[in-house]
Each structure stands twice: as C-alpha cells, then as structure tokens.
C-alpha cells in the first residue's frame, strides 16, 4: 500500500458527473489476520465503514468496506493507522481514586461507591442541579441514550451536554433555525451529481480526508464541478478552487450576506421556490441590500471582483452543493452565518435534489448521536423542550412524570456548566470521553475550575488525559473495537460496530458503567420499577427505536441484524423508507410545523428565544425560514497591541487532543509537536524563518512553537488545537513551554448555538532566542 502519510489521499480514481465513485479498498495490517469484524471509523465525522482485523485476540489492522455507501472501501490516514492506540501500553486498566492527593488504583466497587455516594449526598442536600455531565462525540448511540435517560429522566438534572457543543452545535442549530429540525438535508453522494461546490469554513482535505477523495476524484474526472472556498487559509481545497475568498477571521456573515445581495441584484434567485417554499425573503433582502461587493471587500479584506465572480458561479449553478464546518461554527456570529449559508441555497432553490443541497457538517464520528439522543442541548429524538406534548411523550416512554424531565429552559450548555462549577453550584461533574483541560477555551480558567476544591470530578477515559489527571475518580473505558454499538455519521448513515476483542484489564464499556451507576443510585420510574429497562446495547437500541418512532430521525426500520453484512443505512429508515433515505426534503416540505419542529427558533442576531406563540405567528407551516442578521465586528479584533487574528483547527494527521492519534506511531511521527503558521509576508516583516521558535500571546496566555511559513492570509496565524501536555514532561507544561492553542482563546460563545468562539482571538507574535 502507498505511504499514506506522504500521500494522505492515495491514488485517484476519477469519475464523471452522475457516475459511480469507483471502489478502492484501503488496508493496513500488522501481519496476518485471523478474522475480520465489522465496524466503522471513529476518527472524523465521515464514519467510513471498515473491518477490524483480529489475530490472537488482538486488533492488528483495518480494511475499508467496499460495500459501504460512505467510503467505497477507502480509509484516511487517521483511520488506517489510528487503531494502534487500542494496543497502547499506557491504557488505563483499573479505576483510580484520589487518596491523600494521589490517584491510586482501586476496585470498581470502591470507585463506583464513591461516585454514587457523592451523587446521593448532593441530591439529598442540594438537588439535581448540583450534578453535571459533560460527554463527547465519540461514544456509541447506546451509551448516550442510556446516559440521557439517567441524567434527564432519573437524576433530573438539566446539566447534560457534550463536547459536540464545541464541534457541531451550530450545525444542528442552523438546521433547526432554517428547517425547523436537525437532520442533514443531503448526503455525500450528492458530490457525484453537483456542478458547483461552495465550501464555507471547511478544509475537507484535512478534516474529512475521504470526503475530499470523493470530491477530488470528481475534480479529476470529466465535467468537474466548479468550486469556491471561503477560508482565511490557503488550504489544499482552496488551491483547487476557481475562487478562493481568503476572508479575515470573524467576517463570514458579511461575505455570505454579500453573496445573497449579488444573487438578488443579478436576479439569479428562484422566485417561485422562494415564494412558495420559504418565508422571510423581504427581511433578508432588506438586511443584505447594503452588503455590496465593495462593502464586503472592505469588511472581509478580499477583492470585490472575487466576490462578484463567486456570486456569478453560484448564480450559474444548476446543482449547487454547500459544505459548512468549523470555520463558521467556531467563529463569531456562528449560527447567523451558518443560516446565511443555508440562505444561499434557498435563494437558488437548491435543496432536495441530487447534487443540490446543503451539508452542515459534523466534526466527530458520533456527534450526530449526541445530538439525537438528548446529550447535547435537546431532548431525545429531536423533541422540543418548549413543546409540552413532546415532553409528555418522552415522559410516557420513560414512565416518569413530565416535570421530572427538566424543560424549563434549553438544556444547560457546556460553557454554562463550567460556569456553575466555577461558582460552586455544580459540585459533581462527570466528564466522559473528552478532554476539556485541552479543548475548552482559556485553559488557565478551565484548569482552575477542574481543580477547584469542592468540585467532585469523575472522568471516564481510556487514557490518563490532562483532564483525568485532575479527577477524584477515574473510570477506565472500553473503546471502539472493544464494545458493540451503533453510530451515525454526518450524512445520517448508521453503522454497526461490533466488538472485535476483549477490553484490556478491568476496563468496562461506558454503557456498563452507566447501568451500574443507575443501579447504585436505585433510579426508579414512577411505578417503582427500575428506570433503565435494558441491560445490553442491542436492547437499548430497540428502546431507542421506539423513542424515534414518527420523529424526523426515525430508526424503527433498523436493527443490528439489518446493519450486519452490507452497507450502513441512512435514517429515516422505517416502513415507508425501509432502505433508508438518501436526502431529506425532496418534496420541499420542511419540518417547520409547530407540532413537529425541534425548536421555535431564535433571533439569530442576539440569541433571544422565540416562544410557541411567536413561532405560530411567524407561520412557516412547512416552509423553510430565511434568517437574516447584520454583520457585527468580533468581540476581539486585531489591533495595535495584538495585531494578529488567531485561527485554531484540526490537521490531517491528528484528531482532537491526540488521545488516539498521538499513540499511533506513523501519525505521531508525521506531526509530533505544535506549530504556528503565518504567511510569508508577515514572516518576513517579523524576521521569522521556517522553524524559528515563536511565542504567540493573547490577553489570556501564550503558546511557544516553531514557525511554519505559508498558509493563512496576511494578519492571521494558525495553530493546530491538538497539542496538550500528556506526552511531554512537566517542565513542558503550561508553566514551562505552553503549547495548547486554547491557552490563547476567549471565553465567549455564539448567542444562539452557544458554541465557543475558538476562532476569535487577537494575538501578538514574537520570535524567541
């Protein structure tokens, strides 16, 4: 096999518009394989189907599944090499409990007794609001649904959120604002039919390598699509584009409003579609009218001619596909901008057809399930917390009183959970499969919250992460390949991932740990029966199916058996659509009916919540909502003292805080340490050459890392967010050589989706030594 570190995307297999994407099976194993076990990759949101190779009870490799709709056999470098982390010598093998200030090995009984005892004490003295749960986008559906039932239906706390808040909260929110409900409108196969792709704040080549292969193979085939990239960095995707709008960070909304202005001015809009299938056009037209190419050029720092050219290409498209990701979601005015991207497609009537539509992408492999199951700011199966009938349905399914399920407001978002912990009103925090000590903004603040006297911190993880080091109790978790469950990728494809090997040591799967917790707390339903009615992942999946019946994310047509052997299947999958559903809204009817919708929406400028009455008065009734907002400058804007804008992000060889990819030798060797990217012009001005050690500082902290010249536009520095401190000595920690990008970032979030603005910070750059 080709060296996929040197060539992350492997050899091209071109195909024309409307053609089938050829199969190419990627495989990487360490020696022979005894048996192959069906699964899918958990190292980005694409969810490529693969088989896990096993020899002597050990994972020894992976092979892409050629039958699967998502990847046709391909794998990206993270998927090909990342499995080696399972076999890493520093896995946590036993629970740890803090005694005399040190984490010491303990039995499950000791550890879980402590967790349950502290929970019971707080429930008795302070109530359920003293307990918080912060989970991830990397467990399986069955883990999440069990946790959602325990936290919301059993304990009755509103404080359950996921790190998906940092990742795809805005994707879900923008879909709710525009279409009334979460749910990816289109699928990855739309790449095969489109003639134009608009990329907004997305670097598919690095973040979703197999999606990029799918796209790149079209670009190398007959009738390639024209592409536009909006990104402050000159990425691989940008180099392939007809138009690259290298905007200043924090100006997404201005450029997207500018595209809408041009489409309207050039009369390139689908009047009939807009009249019949949307509401809000007049307000949108009024709002965007002042965003002329000249004004956009001024705000965003791009050429007016390029804005015109991009709008022309979009205006000429017959099959326009729009991709959106973190460049929007983690930026200033995130939800308003993601809605503005939806507006571009809606103005052109580009939705619900092959090659025409929107992918508001996810970042993590199972983020969709965090959102669906109620672990990320919504009630399970996209139920609306403001809709009493939805809450009553859920209470019926769980056999609890409706008032037991907190629904006095939206579920508490992650940043607010940490604020309550900072203030001391949350005294029990269970962090599951995520590493906030590296991934949340303004790390000195997060470290001080997590180490706070009076906060009982429980961490479930496979490794002793930076966060686990601060815990009172650490629970060792089984990971992918060591447990069975399902998960859903960014285009609604559900995959089954079978257990391939036994977990090492005393390690347990998260669902087992949660079931044990529920039992120790003796959580009961309203008839005095045990609250959680299942004991295996498959039983949980069956219960989940009932929870989704009749909802937009209908899983009732799926089963473990149906998911075995062939391809993954896209929800909704039910009696009407037994083979799943490739794209939503083909009849141009959207779930904006008050009795169906997941959310009554917000004023996207401020985040003020609309009530049921206001939503009814707006009256979308099956039409999509064009949401308009004015661009405003970011809260921190590069100036005299801090002249650069900071962008942080994911790169091709690593995932998140490198918990797994840093333990895969090829990936670790490919990018062992943090770096700072800046453009040649800025480098020259500062007298910086490739490899020079730099210190980047913001009002909140600093990072020291070597320079890489090239990439971002002038006035912008980029730092990957992967690097923390677990694999360097203490002298290289935050007080020695700080290298975590989030030392610099700001504590501020989008007013609608509550996603932290990890790409809005002003910094200065100094050369060291």
């Amino acid at each position: 096999m080709a060296d996929r570190i040197a060539d992350p995307w492997g050899p091209r297999t071109p195909y024309p518009q409307g053609g089938d994407w050829p199969v190419r099976v990627d495989e990487y194993t360490d020696g022979p394989v005894d048996r192959w076990v069906q699964s899918a990759c958990v190292l980005c949101s694409h969810g490529c189907a693969l088989d896990i190779g096993v020899r002597d009870g050990k994972i020894v490799g992976v092979r892409g599944r050629e039958v699967d709709r998502v990847n046709h056999g391909r794998l990206g470098p993270k998927g090909l090499y990342g499995w080696q982390a399972n076999n890493s010598g520093d896995r946590l093998l036993h629970p740890l409990v803090r005694r005399d200030g040190e984490l010491r090995e303990a039995s499950w009984d000791e550890a879980m007794d402590l967790v349950a005892e502290r929970s019971r004490e707080l429930l008795a003295t302070k109530g359920s609001g003293a307990l918080g749960f912060y989970t991830t986008g990397q467990l399986f559906l069955e883990d999440y649904y069990t946790l959602a039932l325990i936290a919301r239906g059993g304990i009755g706390t509103n404080h359950l959120d996921g790190n998906t808040r940092l990742c795809t909260a805005t994707a879900g929110q923008a879909l709710k604002e525009t279409f009334g409900c979460d749910g990816q409108p289109n699928g990855v196969h739309d790449i095969e039919y489109c003639d134009t792709i608009l990329h907004v704040g997305i670097n598919t080549a690095e973040t979703q390598t197999v999606l990029w292969m799918h796209e790149l193979d079209r670009l190398r085939g007959a009738d390639p699509p024209r592409t536009i990239v909006i990104d402050p960095r000159e990425t691989e995707s940008a180099r392939e584009a007809q138009v690259h709008l290298a905007i200043k960070p924090g100006t997404n909304l201005a450029v997207l409003n500018g595209l809408a202005q041009q489409l309207i001015e050039n009369d390139c809009i689908d009047r009939e579609f807009v009249d019949v299938n949307t509401i809000g056009f007049d307000a949108l037209e009024k709002t965007v009218s002042s965003y002329t190419p000249e004004r956009v050029a001024e705000i965003c720092g791009v050429a007016a001619a390029d804005v015109r050219r991009a709008a022309e290409i979009i205006g000429e498209a017959e099959h326009l596909l729009t991709f959106v990701l973190q460049g929007v979601y983690q930026s200033h005015q995130a939800t308003a901008s993601a809605c503005a991207a939806n507006n571009v497609n809606l103005l052109r009537g580009m939705i619900g057809r092959p090659g025409a539509g929107i992918l508001q992408m996810n970042g993590q492999p199972t983020a969709q399930n965090t959102r669906e199951t109620g672990c990320n700011g919504d009630l399970p199966a996209f139920r609306n917390w403001q809709n009493e009938a939805h809450v009553a349905e859920l209470a019926g399914l769980w056999n609890v009183e409706p008032l037991q399920i907190p629904h006095w407001g939206p579920p508490t978002h992650a940043m607010e959970i940490f604020r309550y912990a900072e203030q001391g009103s949350i005294e029990f925090l269970w962090v599951i499969g995520t590493n906030p000590a590296v991934s949340l903004p303004e790390l000195h603040r997060i470290r001080s919250i997590l180490s706070r006297e009076g906060l009982f911190l429980v961490v479930s993880d496979a490794f002793l992460s930076e966060t686990a080091r601060l815990a009172d109790v650490v629970l060792p978790a089984a990971i992918w390949g060591e447990k069975t469950g399902t998960f859903t990728n960014t285009d609604r494809t559900v995959h089954l991932s079978e257990q391939a090997v036994q977990p090492p040591g005393d390690v347990r799967s998260d669902i087992e740990t949660f079931l044990d917790y529920a039992q120790r707390l003796d959580l009961r339903d309203k008839d005095g029966q045990p609250l959680v009615k299942w004991s295996t992942p498959e039983e949980c999946f069956e219960a989940w199916k009932e929870c989704t019946r009749g909802r937009p994310c209908d899983y009732t047509g799926l089963s473990y058996e149906k998911l075995r052997g062939g391809s993954g299947i896209q929800w909704p999958c039910n009696d009407e659509a037994p083979d799943g559903t490739e794209r939503l809204y083909t009849d141009l009817t959207f779930p904006t009916f008050p009795e169906i919708c997941e959310d009554y929406g917000h004023d996207v400028q401020t985040g003020a919540t609309f009530s049921e009455a206001e939503f009814k008065a707006l009256g979308p009734q099956g039409r999509a909502v064009l949401k308009a907002a004015e661009w405003t400058p970011p809260h921190e804007w590069a100036g005299d003292e801090y002249p650069f804008a900071l962008a942080t992000g994911r790169t091709v060889y690593h995932f998140h805080t490198r918990t797994k990819t840093g333990r895969a030798p090829e990936l670790q060797a490919a990018a062992p340490d943090a770096w700072v990217e800046l453009c040649a012009k800025d480098a020259e001005r500062l007298g910086v050459s490739e490899g020079d050690m730099l210190r980047v500082s913001s009002p909140r902290g600093s990072v020291e890392a070597p320079a890489r010249v090239g990439g971002p536009r002038e006035g912008v520095v980029f730092i990957p967010f992967h690097y923390g401190y677990w694999d360097v000595g203490d002298e290289a920690g935050p007080d020695g050589r700080p290298r975590a990008a989030n030392e610099l970032t700001m504590t501020i979030w989008d007013p609608v989706s509550k996603q932290p603005q990890l790409k809005t910070a002003a910094v200065k750059v100094e050369k060291l030594g």
């Binding site: 302070k126 609001g129 309550y420 009103s425 004023d603 401020t606 985040g607 003020a608 504590t747």
Partner: protein
Amino acid sequence: MRIGPLLAHLRELEAGVAAELRAAAERHRDDHDVYHQCHTFAVTADKRVQKLEPLAERYGGKSTWKSAVGDGSDDLLEDLRSLYLRAQESAITWVMVMQAAKAARDQELLTLATECQSETEVQAKWFMTRIKTGAPQALVVA
C-alpha cells in the same frame, strides 16, 4: 404637542441604558455572555441616541418624564431583571413615539421609532431568555 419632551426623555433614557449596560457588563465580567452581550447592546443604544438627536432637536423641549426603573445590582439575576425592565421601558417609550409620529404625520420619526422599538423589544427578549435559563440554578441550587 408633547412630542419634544418625550423625545428628550427617550434620549436620556437610551443614554442611561447604554451607561447602565456598560456598568452591568463590568459587574458581571465572569458571566462572559452577559459581559459581551451588554457591551453589544450598549453600542446599539448609543446608535439610537445618535439617530434620535436630530429629531429631538427638531421638536425641541426638555424632558418632563421620570424613569421608572431602579439601580443595578451585583446579583446577576437581580441585575438582569432591571436590565430587562430598562429594555422594556425603552420599548414602550418607543411605542409612544410611534403613536405620536403617526398622529403628527412624521414619517422620518415613525421609521426610526418602528426600527428602534423592535430592536429594544428583541433586547428585552434576550434578557428574558437569559433570566429563564439562569433563574433555576440561581434560585434553587446555588
């Protein structure tokens, strides 16, 4: 005709809102969303004062009205309640101006008042949203 004194009052009211929002932002620096949103809203209140200026000049007269809302507080929830009431006070005062503008056949004033009324209404709604999400924890758990 009492439009002049009402506009003079509204000018004081909005200037007071801007000052109070900035003071509240500083009081609640560690509640980061409140901090940033109050500053953002303060800028919009400044703009309302600016836009009102020429019209208040045109109508002339001094304010004979009193503000109905009290001082701020270090308690976040209490402060959010006064900020909500301040926004509502602005909003309802803009309603009065809208009505007066209609009767005075003053299209320029009506356009401004309509725009500012809905802006202040949305800002009040934001404080309502923030109170609804923050009150349970502040009143039941903390």
